[in-house]
């Protein structure tokens, strides 16, 4: 009796795999059907700090070499969707109600780039993200840049025999930007950037 039950279950599962996968034009979202995990971290512990600036002194830049670096580790054959949203300004004492007060807020322009070359990502291989609108963007990025080969077979769904660590790579997301310091009150100005990451 039990033998028959097992065989039936396997056949049902195999059938569902064969028919339930949605197939878009040349894209299959394997991330939806496998239990693949992502790991994010911070390569540098410090936040995006423009340091001490003088009131009324204009533009201050943080470039990519001093950026905040987010590490994203995942299955190298898959794409991730990165959504980044930053506040338009830094606010005195972090109080967003000062957003309309030019003496208590500082305009902030977000810039970003990513590197997903094989091995350790480098700034030299970074690709700048250009379509940032209102300090926000959504970007689909391969965990590992295409190696100029046809895409390989999808990784097998996780089983006892599957070790994701063997097919992982890490991509770097660089966050940086500029502020424009007008005649604002002296003090501490802060805001934040929210980064959300999913498999495609």
């Amino acid at each position: 009796m039990i033998r028959k039950f097992i065989i039936t279950s396997c056949l049902v599962l195999a059938a569902s795999w064969g028919t339930a996968l949605p197939v878009y034009a040349q894209e299959i979202d394997f991330g939806q059907y496998g239990n693949y995990s992502l790991t994010i971290g911070e390569l540098n512990a410090n936040n995006l700090d423009f340091g001490q600036v003088i009131t009324g002194s204009g533009i201050y830049n943080i470039d990519i070499s001093n950026s905040k670096v987010i590490t994203i580790t995942g299955v190298k054959y898959l794409d991730v969707i990165i959504e980044v949203t930053a506040q338009p300004k830094l606010y005195l004492n972090g109080n967003q109600s000062y957003g309309s007060d030019p003496q208590k807020s500082i305009p902030f322009t977000l810039q970003a780039a990513y590197a997903n070359n094989e091995g350790t990502p480098t700034i030299g291989q970074a690709k700048f993200i250009t379509n940032i609108v209102n300090n926000s963007f959504i970007k689909q990025i391969p965990v590992l840049e295409r190696q100029h080969l046809p895409p390989g077979p999808p990784p097998p769904p996780p089983t006892n025999a599957f070790e994701q660590a063997q097919v992982e790579e890490t991509l770097y997301l660089y966050l940086f930007g500029m502020i424009d310091v007008g005649n604002v009150d002296a003090g501490s100005y802060t805001s934040d950037i929210v980064v959300t990451i999913n498999y495609d």
Binding site: Q52, Y60, S188, T190
Partner: protein, 172 residues
């Protein structure tokens, strides 16, 4: 062989039916991270501009003492301090300084006095005393200072005397 195959399939079914393990905080899917952006704004440095030097004239002489009242005399020197609007600051200055004769080694001792006000109105200026209390820049970031003092010319040789007046202003 047949029995082992059965066991493997049974394990597979059991595994699929087990609930998923919850991911660790930075591992899983749909991960979120927040990055702080910050800057510390410093007030601009204070600039002091000399508008007029002190003029020691006979009109202010009484006996051998020449006195220039900084709160009223038109011969008082005038300066303006420029900084961040509405910021508080303190002023300090050397009250006594040597004036040097242009063509000899004769000196005169000058005792300075200073009056100040946030607007360009000498008649309302307040004498700065030893209390050295806090003052405040006006809405344009300015504070006006008039410099006077007194000097005893009993032993002064005729000629031109020159000296410097040093004033220090710091934000509080």
């Amino acid at each position: 062989m047949h029995k082992r195959f059965t066991h493997i399939l049974l394990a597979l079914v059991i595994m699929i039916l087990l609930p998923e393990r919850a991911p660790a905080q930075t591992r899983g899917n749909n991960l979120k991270l927040s990055v702080d952006v910050s800057a510390t704004v410093l007030a601009s440095s204070i600039e002091i501009i000399t508008l007029r030097s002190i003029n020691l004239s006979e009109a202010d002489r009484r006996g051998n003492i020449i006195t220039v009242d900084p709160a009223s005399s038109t011969n008082a020197g005038k300066m303006v301090a420029v900084g961040t609007p509405y910021r508080e600051f303190r002023i300090s200055f050397f009250r006594q300084h040597e004036l040097t004769h242009a063509n000899s080694s004769n000196n005169l001792t000058f005792y300075y006095s200073v009056a100040g006000y946030k607007d360009d109105d000498q008649t309302t200026a307040e004498l700065l005393d030893q209390d050295n209390r806090a003052f405040e820049f006006n809405e344009e970031g300015r504070f006006y200072l008039w410099v006077g003092g007194r000097v005893d010319i009993t032993n002064a040789a005729p000629g031109t005397y020159q000296g410097e007046f040093t004033l220090e202003i710091d934000y509080i």
